[in-house]
């Protein structure tokens, strides 16, 4: 005929009732539209190849479009039935062929995804509404509100549709809703804390869950025997044990939802939460074993089956963990090679983690455990490998998915509860269950804690135990498991369902509501957040090493010993294998903290509008005393600045030849001087690479401009270099800040030794992303966007013994400024007493890292400083004695001098000298540099305006710098 192909595809699509369904679509292709067959359209449109796509859930309608153009979403799950006969055309027998409709209402085509989207939207909107009132959310946990909302919505649906719809289906829950939550919690689990408390967590998870299941089940059975449960509840001991096993497990979703708002201390949180995650294995095993026992009938259960049950506990838990670790390994390994396809990095994380979940589920291992271990295991390496942007993407997507799933779960729980057809109420059973789970949980916690405290360094006190008992929330896992029961095998299913719903609602609503006041009332230690400091990080590592060493000495191979061992192994083999070379270095923890602190400083520097420049003294934003910068802005800006600067610096660092340097200087000049016009249209529409947004680029530009201007104005108006030592540290007297220091300098007091070890120049190191092995990549235009530049604040190692005079070297704003007459202080200036070695320090606040975008200005000022600094070596005599106007002539010479051959007596470390050279050269031809003049008079700070006088540029001469 006309060349038709059709195929049928099965879509796995969550249906409105959240039941995974197979939708069948048939797709057939017609080279020529039916229009011509109908004769309606005339010949003109004949070869236009009109493609009509019609899909219906019942799979009767054919979709006409080329197979090649199938949407990517279509996952052919079942085999493609090719060349299906085409007689089932819509307009086949006798029906009047439809004309070209202008408008068609096709609700059924979109119904399923539309409903899913709508429910999520409703849940999200509800969240927004809840959070409008802070009072409500501070009192009531969100999970409670969502459940209540679900109840209301379920009631409405029931009233309208006369049947309960949109319930929480176990399949949907386990396959789609649970994984994101577990992945999120596993991935962002504080691993150190987790492993520090692993013993306690495992105890509560395994022993506690077993204990809860058996005691609750047995006690309920006892209750039934005693006649408190109506005889219509047909259940034997095994049924009750089955019910006990599913009702006993603490639910990760509920615990997370409630405890995240309570903010108890980390140890308590990690124990309760870790338990809720790890007990999944036990729950799964218990549930399956009991379920199969019930199905076999208690008479047929043999001793071997019990043994198998015990064995399966190990198989399920260890197997699940192993699957998770294998996928974690694969994931880490894969991300090592994504350098050129950054865009799929987040996708890989989700895909492989989900694959781990499904694999474990497929092998009927503990899927929760698998995903938890996968997230826990891969994080370190993945975070190191993927780019900053991917990291953010992973983080936010994960959080979004988890929050979304959690919201939907609670809402659907509420809706499901409305369906009374599933219910069968028995007060004795419900009340008994409620009392027993609370009682046995508390009893179990107390007993286990007593045992654990014999081994714990920090015992869990009574208050902790109360919170742990009370925090044993049950949730959607229990509900989904009870729904999965087979009514024919478990005749009391309806009663169990009702009881489970009540238990879940009670724990989530009542306990969730009261746990916050309880925690407050008991004065449970809250978690406290403090920013990491380098000292803490370093000392913590020291402590770890000390403890490991002491354990060696004592001869006890304890926890510290094994952790030490693991870290050695990780360092030697795993990290080498799973991390990129460049990332491997970055991931040194101390370095990492240092890096982050630096970036934060840079950000806050920007946030404060450059005030740090003028601030007196060294007050680091990241120091504990200082108010913190808003975290969000830090992370946001961090990303921006990370990429923008690479170019500049690479130019500076890699360019070698003079001509190139010239070009670079010109490039900088142009870059700085030209304002790019606003771009309206984005030319690039690559799917594989995110090009910088025009807006973003423009922002960066403006930002650069502003910062540069700031620096320049600061330079040209003040020309004061050394009014403030960044952090003047008079050694002995403990004098405070620069004001005092300067005053002393003015008074000409003999300068005392200064602990200037901390003064430093700034080296801008360009870290080439990949090492030799990936050298070939360097030619690529693609640039690493997350680790372009490391700022290294480099301190000079020598101590300046008498450096107070440093305050006297200044730049005067212009040659016309009348030079002050020499003061007595000037005569006593150390460098005038003429000793051989002379060290010039360009100092800045060591840790005041310049934001990347400021580097241009920074470089300029550095070079100007260096040009100033150089004269004392060779021409110091003239320099100090010359009135400023004569220095016009001298300045270029100084520049020349520096650029051609830095004086050997410079105290710059080699790399600094090198960097300084290239910098000064690159900016030597910037005209405005010429007007920067050194001014030797001390009294000049009088005509410096106070606001800007406090530069943090200083030039210090050490005592030996004499002429």
């Amino acid at each position: 005929m006309l060349g038709r192909w059709s195929g049928s595809f099965f879509w796995l699509v969550p249906s409105p009732s959240f039941r995974p369904q197979f939708l069948q679509f048939e797709i057939s292709v017609e080279a020529f539209p039916s229009l011509r067959e109908n004769g309606g359209g005339g010949g003109g449109s004949g070869d236009a190849g009109l493609v009509v796509l019609r899909c219906r859930e019942d799979g009767e309608t054919a979709c006409r479009m080329p197979r090649a153009a199938l949407p990517l979403l279509v996952l052919p799950l079942a085999g493609v039935v090719a060349a299906e006969e085409t007689t089932q055309e819509p307009g086949a027998p006798g029906e009047h062929p439809p004309g070209l409709a202008l408008f068609r209402w096709q609700w059924h085509e979109v119904e399923a995804p539309y409903l899913v989207a709508l429910w999520i939207l409703v849940a999200s909107l509800a969240k927004i509404v809840f959070h409008l009132s802070r009072k409500v959310t501070s009192l009531v946990p969100e999970s409670c509100l969502l459940i209540l909302l679900g109840l209301v919505l379920g009631g409405i649906v029931l009233a309208v549709a006369k049947k309960a719809e949109y319930q929480l289906e176990p399949g949907t829950f386990f396959l789609f809703l649970l994984p994101p939550i577990v992945l999120d919690s596993g991935y962002f689990m504080p691993s150190r804390l987790f492993f520090d408390n692993l013993g306690a967590i495992l105890t509560y998870a395994v022993v506690g869950t077993l204990w809860n299941a058996f005691t609750t089940g047995a006690a309920l059975w006892g209750l039934r025997q005693a006649g408190f449960v109506a005889s219509r509840v047909q259940a034997g001991l095994l049924d009750f044990l089955l019910f006990g096993s599913l009702i006993s497990a603490v639910d990760p979703v509920a615990v997370l939802a409630v405890f995240e708002e309570v903010h108890v201390n980390e140890t308590l949180f990690i124990i309760v939460f870790g338990e809720s995650l790890l007990n999944d294995a036990v729950t799964v095993v218990l549930y399956k074993v009991c379920n199969s026992f019930v199905e076999m009938g208690s008479a047929n259960v043999q001793a071997a089956d019990y043994l198998k049950g015990v064995a399966s506990l190990f198989v399920v838990s260890l197997g699940g963990a192993a699957v998770g670790l294998v996928f974690a390994f694969l994931l880490a390994l894969t991300t090592r090679f994504t350098k050129r396809v950054r865009i799929i990095e987040p996708l890989l994380v989700f895909l492989l983690a989900y694959a781990a979940y499904l694999t474990a589920e497929m092998a009927s291992l503990s899927a929760i455990l698998a995903v938890t271990m996968c997230g826990l295991g891969c994080k370190k390496y993945v975070e190191a490998n993927i780019s900053h942007k991917s990291r953010t993407a992973v983080k936010y997507t994960m959080k979004t998915l988890a929050s979304c799933a959690e919201t939907v779960i609670f809402m659907l729980l509420g809706i499901s509860a409305v369906d009374s057809s599933k219910w069968a109420w028995d007060s004795g059973l419900v009340l008994g269950t409620l009392i027993f789970i609370l009682f046995f949980r508390a009893l179990g916690v107390v007993l286990q804690t007593w045992v654990l405290n014999q081994f714990r360094l920090v015992p869990l006190d009574k208050i902790d135990q109360v919170v742990m008992s009370y925090g044993g929330l049950r949730g959607a896992v229990a509900f989904a498991l009870v729904i999965l029961l087979d009514r024919t095998k478990v005749p009391a299913k309806d009663y169990f369902v009702a009881t489970t719903i009540v238990v879940v609602f009670f724990t989530v609503i009542v306990q969730g509501l009261t746990i916050k006041p309880l925690v407050k009332w008991l004065k449970v230690k809250r978690s406290e957040h403090h920013k990491p400091t380098l000292n803490q990080e370093l000392h913590e590592h020291t402590f770890d090493h000390i403890l490991a060493a002491v354990e060696d000495v004592v001869g006890h191979h304890g926890y510290h010993y094994w952790r030490d061992r693991w870290e050695q192994f990780d360092k030697k083999y795993l990290s080498q294998l799973l991390m990129r070379r460049s990332a491997y270095r970055i991931r040194d923890q101390i370095w990492d903290v240092y890096y982050r602190l630096n970036i934060r400083d840079a950000i806050s520097f920007v946030d404060q509008g450059g005030h740090v420049l003028s601030s007196t003294g060294l007050t680091l934003p990241s120091m504990p005393s200082r108010n913190s910068v808003a975290e969000t802005s830090v992370t946001n800006l961090l990303r921006e600045s990370g990429s923008g600067a690479c170019l500049d610096l690479q130019v500076i660092d890699t360019v070698r030849s003079g001509r190139d340097r010239e070009d670079a200087a010109m490039h900088h000049l142009l870059c700085g001087g030209l304002y790019k016009p606003r771009r309206r249209y984005k030319a690039s529409c690559s799917r594989h690479f995110i090009s910088e947004d025009a807006q973003e680029r423009q922002d960066k530009e403006v930002f650069q401009q502003n910062m540069k201007r700031r620096l320049e104005s600061f330079k040209s108006t003040k020309h004061n270099i050394c009014f403030t030592k960044s952090k003047p540290r008079p050694h002995k007297a403990g004098r405070k800040k620069d004001g005092v220091a300067n005053a002393e300098a003015i008074n000409g007091k003999p300068p005392r030794d200064l602990g200037f070890q901390d003064t430093a120049a700034v080296i801008l190191n360009v870290e080439s992303e990949e090492e030799e092995e990936e050298e070939s990549d360097s030619s690529e235009t693609e640039k690493e966007d997350d680790e372009g530049i490391i700022f290294v604040a480099r301190a000079t190692s020598e101590v300046l013994q008498e450096g107070k005079v440093s305050g006297s070297l200044e730049l005067c704003p212009s040659p016309r400024v009348i030079p002050p007459s020499p003061t007595c202080a000037e005569k006593e200036l150390p460098w005038k007493s003429g000793q051989g070695d002379l060290a010039v320090y360009v100092s800045s606040e060591t840790t005041k890292i310049v934001p990347v975008d400021m580097q241009m200005g920074w470089n300029q000022s550095i070079s100007s400083l260096e040009s100033l600094a150089s004269p004392p070596c060779t021409q110091a005599t003239t320099l100090t004695r010359l009135p400023p106007r004569q220095q016009d002539a001298e300045e270029p010479q100084a520049l020349l001098d520096l650029s051609s051959d830095p004086h050997p007596s410079f105290a710059f470390p080699p790399s600094l000298a090198k960097a300084g050279r290239s910098r000064s050269e690159s900016s030597a031809d910037i005209p405005q540099q010429q007007e920067l003049q050194p001014l030797m008079g001390h009294k000049d700070h009088t005509h410096l305006s106070p606001g800007t006088a406090t530069s943090h540029w200083c030039i210090h001469f050490n005592r030996g710098a004499r002429l």
Partner: protein, 196 residues
């Protein structure tokens, strides 16, 4: 080896040591056992080489320094009481009301201050009561992986010193050291459970 069997009587001045260190009888016995196991030739004291023979210490970046801390004041040998005294720093802190303690008694070896002092002395090689930039750099060089360059190390050292340095002398005094760790649970992080 009947003579080597652990008995409290074998330990010289067991009561005095216990009073000083606060170790329980059992721990003391355990430590004494270990002490003699380390003391290869039954000398009655340990020398540096005895401790250096512990394999895992060799790979510990701070191993040598920790060994050194067993030999204060340039001694070449450490007897059992000295050995125990060092280890007493790592005894867990009991929950105890500080007001209840006899103020006249010296601070127990496992107090927060003493734990910190022990750590501090690992940094402070020249024993001048200050961690200088140089000393900080040395520690960092031990602790940070080889991948970090010397320059970067130096800048980390600078930053670390500056961060903790409050009086501006470019070095970290013990007071500044404790302050920088104010928020850390040192009692917990510097204790080993088995050393009750």
């Amino acid at each position: 080896m009947g003579a080597r069997s652990s008995h409290a009587a074998v330990i010289p001045d067991a009561d005095g040591i216990r009073r000083e260190t606060g170790f329980s009888q059992a721990s003391l016995l355990r430590l004494h056992h270990r002490f003699r196991a380390l003391d290869g030739n039954n000398k009655g004291y340990l020398s540096r080489t005895d401790l250096q023979q512990i394999g895992a210490l060799a790979v510990n970046p701070l191993g040598d320094r920790i060994i050194d801390s067993f030999f204060p004041d340039g001694n070449q040998r450490v007897d059992f009481s000295g050995f125990v005294r060092i280890l007493a720093h790592f005894r867990p802190v009991e929950e105890e009301d500080p007001a209840m303690r006899d103020p006249k008694q010296p601070e127990p070896l496992n107090s927060r201050m003493n734990k910190l002092r022990f750590a501090f002395q690992l940094y402070d090689l020249d024993r001048d009561g200050k961690i200088s930039r140089h000393e900080m750099l040395q520690v960092l060089r031990l602790m940070v992986g080889v991948q970090v360059t010397e320059e970067q190390l130096e800048s980390i050292a600078d930053r670390t010193v500056q961060e903790a340095d409050e009086d501006g002398d470019g070095a970290v005094s013990f007071l500044e050291f404790t302050k920088s760790l104010e928020k850390m649970n040192v009692e917990q992080k510097m204790s080993i459970r088995i050393l009750k």
